[in-house]
């Protein structure tokens, strides 16, 4: 029980820390995926099968692909070995500021939440009940989350993409030659 939790926590935090410390961007991305898989293992440990498999399907299957494609397609220097340049003082300061802001938001949210004492027996929810709850009660929230994810994806692409003149002069791949007549 508890040793397993510590192992999972070690896996999650260790891979996340290694992802931050490594210089190679692809290694970092892969370790981040390991960390997400650790989150899924934690859900499994907590008995939430559905959430665990959804976590693997979404994060390990889909978001990881977005991250890897983004890393490979948006790098300006087309060298395969994408190494991050050494950290500067400004970058470190920005990173710490952002991290502090996120931590403040999270801790405010956690501290302001009133936790009811949990029932001694874990509730067993079937997949059908989860589906009905998701679609009836929390349908709006689900749609909003989807919208936010789309916006985040578009924003990331816009941030990473830079307009270059030679891009516009190239013909688009979609344009196919017109139908030939015999």
């Amino acid at each position: 029980m508890i040793p397993a939790l510590f192992l999972i926590a070690l896996l999650m935090l260790g891979s996340a820390a290694a992802a931050m410390l490594l210089r190679n961007l692809i290694h970092s991305a892969l370790l981040l995926i390991v960390s997400w898989a650790g989150v899924a293992a934690f859900y499994l440990w907590a008995g939430a099968e559905f959430v665990a498999f959804a976590q693997i399907l979404v994060y390990v299957g889909a978001i990881s692909m977005v991250v890897l494609f983004a890393v490979l397609l948006t790098r300006q220097n087309q060298i395969i070995d994408t190494v991050i340049e050494p950290a500067s003082r400004a970058r470190a300061a920005t990173a710490f500021t952002v991290a502090a802001c996120v931590a403040a938001v999270f801790s405010a949210a956690i501290l302001s939440t009133k936790f009811h004492p949990a029932a001694p027996e874990a509730p067993t929810a079937s997949v059908k009940e989860i589906g009905l709850t998701l679609m009836n009660e929390h349908g709006g929230a689900l749609l909003i989350v989807g919208l936010i994810l789309t916006v985040a994806l578009l924003g990331a692409t816009i941030l990473a993409a830079t307009d270059r003149d030679e891009d516009q002069s190239q013909p688009s791949d979609a344009a196919l030659p017109p139908k030939e007549t015999p």
């Binding site: 892969l30 440990w45 099968e49 559905f50 494609f69 490979l72």
Partner: protein, 434 residues
């Protein structure tokens, strides 16, 4: 609930359900034989290790059965493709002459020992790793791809009582386990430190991501109708016969048939089979993302591809073709696991037939087929299944209307979209030099 209690609960649930089934249903001896054999073997061991032995036996069974299945799929594929191409195929490998034996069994066994010869060849080949490669990832990629493609077998119900792990969210587990193969392909392509490997890996990923959507969307109608994600419950929902001879398999409903066709196409693409074998089109590329792999690692990728194909075929059988159910009531005396394996073999032979018949697509045709044709059709099919669920209570004359409307919902868009999309591309006209 911890992992250990979860697994113990699962195993107790499995044994309890099997015991209940053995007590209640008129199961023949053959039906119960595999479970009885397992329980007998488990009971030989002391109590503390029984749960471990229980799971290990399951794992070893899957490995042995599907390892051999893989071996004979390769030889079946080579022989069938050869016949389709007017050749004989491998027919020379018999048994080797062992020097300690005084006699030699000279029959060539119709070449059926070819996969074992291939395996020995793959093991004894030199394992070349490029000097600049990322050694760890280069090694991990084939390991991950085989491990995760084997994990998908865990939730397939192979027989009435034979299901390795009974999960409430089995379908979700299946696709979650399959998702990791994409990562392995990326790792293989990137760690080779070869531009062509990386490019091919990105192409392969684009294909896999494009077809994962129709694959999952084609399965959603089943979940909608049965309102469960458990593979066992889905098979049980397909039991019974109308008029005593029409099985209630989902493939025999309009939405199920459309879903099955979409599932077949997406499964072909997901397992890199012809006509969607662009990632390693052997006559166009060297070997795609496997260019820098050799020896047994290459064989492992090959193996994972066939495991993935077999698992997806098994899922197709489970979801659409009634799983382990017999097609006719009087054929029920044949054990359920033989029905499952028979249907599985039919699916595999169908895939081999498709490979021998159809031509390879171009990458733009491939992605256009997925995004412009299969995804909208699959979405329509979900609406179709919803209509089917809402009209379950209709009386007999209205049932004909229900079937007609349900068929129209898939057939009319199929024809219209097919015409609209192929308007500028087909029929093709060729001009030859005079």
């Amino acid at each position: 609930m911890s992992l250990s209690t979860l697994s113990s609960q699962l195993s107790t649930a499995a044994t309890a359900s099997s015991a209940a089934a053995a007590a209640a249903s008129p199961d023949s001896f053959l039906e119960r034989a595999p479970l009885e054999l397992r329980d007998w073997a488990v009971n030989l061991l002391p109590t503390p290790v029984q749960w471990l032995a229980h799971h290990l036996i399951t794992i070893v069974c899957i490995l042995a059965v599907f390892g051999l299945f893989f071996a004979f799929t390769t030889i079946a594929e080579r022989k069938l493709l050869a016949r389709l191409q007017n050749r004989l195929g491998p027919n020379r490998s018999g048994l080797p002459k062992l020097s300690i034996l005084p006699w030699h069994f000279k029959h060539t066994l119709f070449g059926l020992s070819q996969p074992f010869a291939d395996a020995i060849k793959a093991i004894t080949k030199e394992d070349i790793v490029p000097a600049a490669a990322d050694k760890l990832l280069h090694f991990l990629a084939p390991v991950i791809v085989v491990a995760f493609s084997l994990m998908t077998f865990a939730v397939l119900p192979f027989g009435r009582n034979i299901i390795p792990v009974e999960l409430d969210a089995a379908l979700l587990y299946f696709f979650a386990a399959g998702a990791a193969t994409e990562l392995a392909i990326f790792m293989a392509g990137w760690s080779s430190r070869n531009k062509y490997s990386l490019l091919a890996a990105m192409r392969a990923l684009a294909q896999l991501i494009s077809y994962e959507l129709p694959l999952i969307l084609s399965v959603v109608p089943i979940v909608l109708v049965t309102s469960t994600l458990s593979t066992k419950a889905i098979v049980l929902a397909q039991s019974g016969w109308t008029f005593g001879f029409l099985p209630h398999w989902f493939v025999f409903t309009p939405w199920g048939f459309a879903g099955f066709i979409i599932f077949l196409i997406a499964a072909l693409a997901e397992s890199n089979r012809s006509p969607f074998d662009l990632p390693e089109a052997e006559s166009e590329l060297v070997a795609g993302h496997l260019t820098e792999y050799s020896g047994f690692k290459y064989a492992l990728f090959f193996m994972a591809e066939y495991f993935g194909l077999t698992a997806l075929s098994g899922l197709g059988v489970t979801l659409f073709l009634g799983g382990w159910q017999a097609p006719l009531p009087f054929l029920e005396f044949i054990p359920s696991y033989l029905w499952f394996m028979g249907k599985l073999i039919c699916m595999i032979v169908f895939f081999i037939w498709v490979r021998g018949t159809l031509l390879r697509l171009r990458i733009d045709q491939l992605t256009r087929l997925a995004w412009q044709f299969l995804v909208p059709l699959a979405l329509l099919n979900i609406a179709n299944a919803a209509f089917w669920v809402l009209t379950t209570q209709w009386s007999l004359p209205l049932q004909f209307v229900r079937w007609g409307v349900s068929a129209a919902i898939v057939v009319i868009p199929f024809i219209m979209m097919g015409r609209a999309l192929s308007a500028s591309y087909a029929p093709r006209s060729y001009r030859y030099a005079p």
